[in-house]
């Protein structure tokens, strides 16, 4: 009952308290920032600070001579990429490999959609779940282990060659691994073996989310199973598919290195070297850190531009950005 009339003193007091509260809040906010500061230090150390490493692309850096004693060479390494004809030849081959593997992966990116549609047609729920669990398993093993499996199965003394020889179908072991025949295709097959089941999970979930009334209506209209898939399931999955497609386009130059590194050998090197692997081989193998940095710098720039373009396209066509 005391607060019924507002007297000026109380109003001033309230204002003062409010200001005090704001101040305390700001102080509290800075205290909270101090709590996350150690993590920000990690972000700076492992994400921002390495960017300064690009500076090595403009020096003739040969460890253990420190950077400040190395010679500044300006754009020499960048010029070298386009002037020296053997380098040009090599780089063109590497770019061809990179583009080929990315294009093959993009061209087969509809396979997980088909896989999901097919799996969804299996009626027995336990059978379906078992297949899902077992086919996603390869996604969770490392590329080293995939190579170990490849070696056990396909090396000259591997399971497949022994089996074919025992059956007298072949006289000499087939060189699946130690040859440069169909290298791009083989790499595609391995990444499909590893990723197909896992890649389909997102579409399986999308199929579950499709309104059952759509199918009811289709059946009433006398649509066949194939027509239901063609006119209902596939159109409903397209938006998800486009998101995944654009993500893979923006990662066009980032094939990663693990797969190609483990499968690389003296025979298949010409067609297996993608950009990431080439950077490793040049930088760590040949110890040309500066030249390798120059290549990876160009790669990073092109990747950022690709991501930006894809984002603009996505905004224009779907009205939402992917990042």
């Amino acid at each position: 009952m005391d607060n019924v009339t507002v007297n000026p003193d109380v109003a001033a007091e309230q204002k003062r308290r409010h200001q005090q509260h704001e101040k305390a809040k700001a102080k509290q906010g800075r205290k909270m920032w101090l709590l996350i500061a150690p993590f920000l230090v990690l972000v700076v150390a492992f994400s921002y600070y390495p960017l300064f490493g690009w500076i090595y692309a403009f020096f003739d850096y040969e460890p253990p001579i420190p950077l400040h004693q190395s010679e500044f060479v300006g754009l020499q390494w960048f010029k070298m990429m386009i002037q020296n004809s053997t380098q040009v030849h090599q780089l063109v081959q590497v770019l061809a490999n990179t583009f080929a593997m990315s294009l093959l992966n993009i061209a087969t990116s509809f396979l997980p959609v088909l896989f999901a549609i097919g799996l969804n047609e299996i009626r027995n729920k336990h059978f379906r779940n078992t297949i899902q669990t077992l086919t996603t398993l390869p996604n969770f093993i490392s590329w080293v282990l995939v190579y170990s499996i490849a070696f056990a199965m396909f090396s000259s003394s591997g399971m497949v060659n022994e089996l074919l020889q025992n059956l007298h179908w072949i006289a000499e072991p087939i060189k699946f691994l130690d040859s440069d025949a169909h290298t791009w295709l083989k790499m595609l097959l391995w990444s499909t073996w590893k990723g197909l089941g896992w890649g389909s999970i997102i579409y399986l979930a999308s199929i579950t989310g499709i309104d059952p009334e759509l199918y009811e209506a289709g059946r009433v209209d006398g649509a066949s199973k194939l027509q239901l898939i063609r006119y209902i399931t596939i159109p409903e999955l397209l938006p998800t598919y486009f998101v995944m497609l654009m993500l893979s386009v923006s990662n066009f130059l980032n094939n990663g290195m693990d797969q190609y590194f483990v499968f690389q050998n003296a025979f298949n090197q010409t067609h297996i070297q993608v950009l990431d692997l080439y950077v490793y081989n040049v930088g760590m193998g040949n110890n040309s850190l500066s030249y390798a940095t120059a290549i990876s710098m160009l790669k990073s720039l092109v990747s950022v531009v690709l991501l930006w373009i894809v984002n603009v396209v996505s905004k224009k066509t779907r009205g939402s950005s992917i990042i």
Binding site: W54, T133, T293
Partner: protein, 303 residues
């Protein structure tokens, strides 16, 4: 419902159904058989497995390979390194993701938007392999255990997952804690952490698999063989075995092979180490599959 559907099934659809099931059975076998092949060969008689005679069932089962392989000093150390980085690395990134995810929901955090973007944007660029190598060298992290753990602690994607999750929780508990005068850390530990366990389990499982499978960081940053991970050691064994096999084929160094692997053949060592490397995944994956599935769904929603 099913009765009606069965009535409507045309012959064409039945053919499709048969081929569909056939395809999935075959593809599933292709996915599973290699693991089975490794396991039966690692427990069969070594001379038989070296000749490629163990394809369907194990013969003369023995576990000597495991005793021998686990006794090799390199493997024990590598197993400890892999286990250590998986446990410590996962623990730290889970705590960091939870804490940062929570802090970035607190509107009173100093310049919250700026710092959030400062962290998240690092998802979209990276300096590249060689600058990373030079950085690790400059920071004195090459040939230390911490090179496995420190760079993985702050993971922007995990932070987004946790932050989105916390924002979907009712605010009432947090407010009640604030009224009771709980500090930020107390609220985090007693209120936020317990209610985030589902999403943190997803983060933990992905990070653990990533740590266990990681190979490139050993390749780039480690030359000290006491710090090799199991994956890296496996890679070395495969390549040694292949060069040994080449020597045998060229008719040269049979004695060299014998001295390297008297009772053990290169094949048996490779198979056994492969099984040791894959077994944790084979055990863990089916148990936690729902967390994996949830992880990719959340990722897709954000993506």
């Amino acid at each position: 419902m099913t009765e009606i559907e069965r009535h409507e099934t045309t012959p064409g659809e039945q053919v499709f159904r048969v081929f569909n099931i056939l395809f999935f059975v075959v593809f599933t076998l292709i996915c599973v058989y290699p693991f089975y092949y490794l396991i039966i060969n690692s427990v069969s008689a070594n001379n038989l497995s070296a000749e490629g005679l163990i394809n369907w069932l194990p013969k003369h089962i023995h576990f000597e390979n495991y005793v021998q392989v686990l006794g090799l000093s390199g493997i024990g150390t590598a197993a400890l390194v892999s286990l250590g980085r998986t446990v410590i690395g996962t623990g730290l990134t889970v705590i960091a993701s939870a804490f940062l995810g929570y802090m970035f929901t607190r509107e009173d955090l100093w310049h919250r938007q700026f710092w959030y973007r400062f962290v998240i944007i690092t998802m979209y660029f990276n300096a590249g392999m060689i600058p990373m190598f030079i950085t690790m060298k400059n920071l004195g992290l090459t040939n230390t255990f911490w090179v496995y753990v420190l760079p993985a602690i702050v993971a922007p994607f995990n932070i987004i997952l946790v932050k989105t999750y916390i924002e979907s929780l009712p605010k009432s508990l947090e407010e009640a804690a604030a009224l009771d005068g709980a500090t930020t850390l107390q609220t985090f530990i007693h209120i936020i952490l317990p209610s985030c366990t589902p999403i943190l389990a997803t983060v933990a499982i992905f990070s653990a698999v990533g740590q266990w499978n990681s190979f490139q960081d050993t390749l780039l940053y480690i030359t000290d063989d006491k710090l090799y991970s199991l994956q890296y050691l496996l890679y070395q064994y495969i390549n040694q075995a292949s060069s040994l096999a080449n020597m045998v084929r060229n008719g040269g160094g049979v004695s060299a092979v014998a001295s390297v692997a008297q009772s053990q053949t290169p094949t048996s060592i490779r198979m056994t180490v492969s099984v040791v490397v894959v077994l944790p995944i084979l055990f863990i994956y089916p148990m936690f599959q729902r967390y994996f599935t949830k992880g990719i769904m959340l990722g897709a929603v954000k993506g």
